[in-house]
């Protein structure tokens, strides 16, 4: 407590005046000459004494009133944070409270709530407060409310979520709330443990000019914390039923080594294996459990660490789906021994998905055979009308068709559903061979080759290719160096067709001899089949499509809570770790199971400095984003004006004076 005009406190000496008068009166009173005290002496002296006690009460009231009034004139104020004294007028306060799962460690959340309460202590009746709880997403709990008690109640009721820290959504929301406010002062208060994992500086974070940003750091507990790493599921299928080898890791971010850490492997709710690992400080260790047999249904696999200060990162959930091979029919002309060799060898490798490639003749393309296949690869074949019609039916039904065009390839003229029209051939055996270029790296086929040194197509030499003209539905994904389309895709019905302008063997190019051949072929087949690898797990905050449950789908969360997709949506957001079950309206057996895990990046306690965040959002560390503002020293006058304690003191002093007058009248006898 300080005073703006402390010299006024000298007025407190005035309190002594009535006391001195009283004392002086006791020593030297006003003397009244009276003819005789004969009668006065007969009156009991106690009545005078009682009256004196009442006088002391009045004296105390007057002294207190005087002290309050003097203190009011001295203009007291509390020299506090910028929050309480950044200027005059009402404030728009946005309180951002981090509720990521790392805030649940030890008593961190309780201290965060306490910090939020303290931050709201200086909120006046004119201020408005918005409450934003955030983790990976930001939730606006209360918008510009004058009811601070309600804000505090919401803070009290809030609990840490399973989400990871992401500052961007919360800060963007705060920025928009402050920008919309008409109040003269704008402030954002961020209560968090300031984990660096969720921080990425961005210009969009900037608060409106003149806003005050107050970071409130809640230190996480110093207890050691071990976190588990994502599982590695390795399918093993040598000479027998497919098995899955589970590899789990443990990360120790503490300063002390963790020895003999117990690690349990649970399958469908039962602990089937356990292992111990030693983890050095600031290090990690992993262990691979003995392979477990894959069953015909999905297996729920969990690796679990013993509980420690932060429980959320001690378990990892994964779903092991039954082994499924993708049936691929490779149809060649026959006669050339090596025409399918490279293709079959390439498809024999790989488990995401595993390909089950078989070679066939053209006449084997019967409806029955096609019904068993997901993808058909035609190696330089002329197509008749009947086969073309069957293939069209196959594709429209959801099958995939890959056309590897060679000198013999031809199609009926009415096959307009194809992505291309073959117009001729290009022979590049003489002169420079053609090169592949013009890749659409944004497409799924070439997306894995986007990064540098992720696959070099330029080394392949193309000696001949068919000149293709894309049909209206065809999309060119790659071209030769002359600009001619090399790969064209079209969606036909539920399936898709990919036309490759040259061969997939060595007859017209040497691509099969290049390292990029294998992943390229895999990508072609995956794209044609429409295969989408189902991840073994998702992360909290991600959305999952629950359309498998039909229109009345019910989602059973790991906590037992029943959730239904929002109106007009078929997806729900994962909010907790564990296994989500999607059921239909009748709630029979689960139609879909999804494993959900917390974002393990949140387990990293590395901290971003609050000052760094302040600089990013205001341009100054913890100060208003006002380019022309002076150094961040809030004048005492402004603080005093904002608090106005003097008004309350003066009011109390006046009340005391009124009480004194009333009491004095009560004590004074009425004269008749």
């Amino acid at each position: 407590m300080t005073f703006l005009t402390p010299l006024f406190l000298l007025g407190l000496a005035a309190i002594a005046v009535p006391v001195l008068i009283h004392l002086t009166q006791r020593e030297r009173r006003t003397v009244v000459e009276f003819p005789s005290l004969m009668f006065l002496r007969k009156i009991p002296y106690e009545s005078v004494k009682r009256r004196r006690i009442r006088d002391w009460l009045l004296l105390a009231l007057r002294a207190a009133a005087l002290a309050l009034i003097v203190a009011a004139f001295a203009r007291p104020f509390v020299r506090g944070s910028e929050l309480s004294a950044a200027g005059g007028g009402a404030r728009e306060v946005v309180l951002l409270v981090d509720r990521s799962y790392s805030m649940g460690a030890g008593d961190t959340w309780a201290r965060a709530q306490q910090a939020a309460r303290q931050a709201l202590q200086n909120v006046s009746a004119l201020d408005r407060v918005s409450l934003v709880l955030f983790s990976s997403t930001a939730e606006l709990v209360l918008r510009s409310s004058a009811d601070v008690a309600r804000v505090l109640a919401e803070v009290e009721a809030a609990r840490p979520s399973a989400g990871a820290t992401r500052y961007a959504p919360a800060l963007k929301l705060a920025s928009s709330l402050l920008a919309e406010s008409q109040l003269p002062r704008r402030e954002a208060i961020l209560v968090s443990d300031f984990q660096r994992a969720g921080w990425q500086a961005d210009e969009a974070f900037r608060l409106p000019s003149g806003s005050v940003f107050t970071p409130v750091l809640v230190e996480p507990p110093s207890a050691p914390n071990l976190s588990i790493t994502p599982l590695s599921l390795q399918r093993v299928s040598d000479q027998g039923p497919e098995r899955v080898a589970v590899t789990a890791g443990v990360v120790n971010r503490g300063a002390e080594p963790a020895n003999r850490v117990s690690l349990a492997l649970e399958v469908d709710g039962r602990v089937v294996q356990s292992a111990t690992v030693d983890v050095a400080a600031q290090s990690s260790a992993s262990t691979t459990f003995a392979p477990i047999a894959a069953s015909g249904t999905s297996m729920r696999v969990v690796t679990r660490l013993p509980d420690d200060g932060l429980a959320a990162d001690n378990a990892f959930h994964a779903l092991v789906t039954p082994p499924q091979a993708l049936p691929v029919m490779v149809v060649g002309a026959g006669g050339r021994g090596d025409s399918d060799l490279y293709l079959l060898r390439a498809l024999a490798i790989g488990d995401r998905p595993r390909f089950q490639a078989t070679t066939h003749q053209v006449d084997a393309l019967t409806p029955e055979a096609l019904a068993r296949a997901r993808v058909v690869v035609l190696q330089d074949l002329p197509m008749g009308d009947a086969v073309a019609a069957r293939l069209k039916t196959f594709v429209e039904g959801g099958g995939g068709l890959v056309l590897a065009l060679g000198p013999r390839a031809s199609w009926p003229a009415n096959a307009s559903w194809l992505p291309v029209t073959i117009t001729g051939s290009e022979d590049r055996t003489r002169g420079a061979a053609a090169k592949l270029s013009g890749f659409d790296y944004g497409h799924a086929v070439f997306e894995p080759f986007r990064a540098p040194r992720s696959g070099d197509f330029s080394s392949a030499r193309i000696y001949g290719y068919r000149v293709m003209s894309p049909t209206p539905g065809g999309v060119t994904l790659a071209r030769f160096d002359g600009g001619t389309p090399a790969l064209v895709e079209a969606v036909v019905g539920k399936g898709r067709v990919l036309a490759w302008a040259t061969s997939l063997d060595l007859s017209w190019n040497d691509l099969a001899l290049k390292p990029v051949y294998l992943p390229f072929v895999h990508q072609l087949i995956r794209q044609a089949s429409g295969h989408r690898e189902q991840p073994g797990w998702l992360t909290v905050g991600q959305a999952v499509d629950v359309s498998a449950g039909g229109s009345g789908a019910v989602v059973l969360a790991p906590s037992g809570q029943r959730r239904t997709p929002a109106e007009g949506s078929s997806a729900i957001e994962l909010a907790e770790p564990g296994f989500y079950e999607v059921r239909d309206a009748r709630e029979g057996q689960p139609l879909q199971v999804v494993a959900s895990n917390v974002d393990l990046a949140e387990a990293d306690p590395a901290r971003v400095e609050p000052a760094e965040v302040s600089v990013a959002v205001t341009g100054q560390p913890g100060r208003a984003n006002d380019p022309g503002s002076a150094p961040a020293i809030v004048p005492d006058e402004v603080q005093e004006q904002a608090q106005r304690i003097w008004w309350y003191l003066l009011f109390a002093g006046i009340l005391l004076l009124i009480a004194e007058s009333w009491l004095a009248r009560r004590l004074t006898p009425v004269r008749h």
Binding site: R29, E33, F34, P35, R50
Partner: protein
Amino acid sequence: MSEHTIAPGARFVDPAVLARVGNLEFVARSVVDGVINGLHRSPFFGASVDFAEHRGYVPGDDIRRVDWKVFARTDRYFLKEFEADSNANFSVLLDISRSMAFGTRLSKLDYAKTLAACLTYLVHTQRDRVGLVTFDSEVVDFVPPSAKHLDVVLHTIDRAKAERPGQIGPPLKKLAEHFGRRGIVVVISDFYAEPDEIFEAIGPIRFRGNDVILFHVLDPMEIEFSFSDPASFEDLESGDQIPIVPDALAEQYRALVKAHIDALTSRASAQRVDYMLLKTSMPLDHALFQYLSIRDRLTRTR
């Protein structure tokens, strides 16, 4: 002026105004003349030669007092007796103790001096002998009653000052032997003494056949005690001081004063002593009328 009944023909003059005149004889004459002129009937004029009664002659009586007219009618000797008070002694016992100096507008002593002068002048006009005694704790001045002592009495009254503490008992007991001849004794005082002490003091005077009249002179403030501010009250005579909060004491004080006056009134009535309370705010006429009415009663009852 509302404290007392207005007497017919009375000329009310503010005592404070009279006190400022300074010439006591002039003041006394003005007041007394005003009172006398206002009377429609004066039963006291010539009272000294009024017939009283007849009684039978006994040997040794002065034959000059035989009523021959009665002897002529009845052939018996009767003596004719007359009232003998026309030349009565009239003495004023004036208290000049320090407490008499108190007064808010007019000091009690000034009021008492004016009253004494007026009474003396009035009596002197009736050819009575006038005397004066001033006293405090002892006799200060003593002027024996005489028909020629008006000037001396007035002069003595004029120079009387309230300077010393007073005590009513000793001086009055001492004076009793000087009032051997029947007369009228007027005591003017504030009577700050217990009623027993007062009446014990005037008892000897009363027993010697004197008619005693007590004029109790008080300032209105002494009766009403309308002080407001707390103060230290100092006894004018003893110098003692007591811290007083008037608001807290006034009721009890007024009750005590009233009890004191009531006691004096009842004791005076019981002992056939005339008692009259005079506030210094009351005009002197009132006191004079009161005196005359008392004299009238005395004359008729004798």
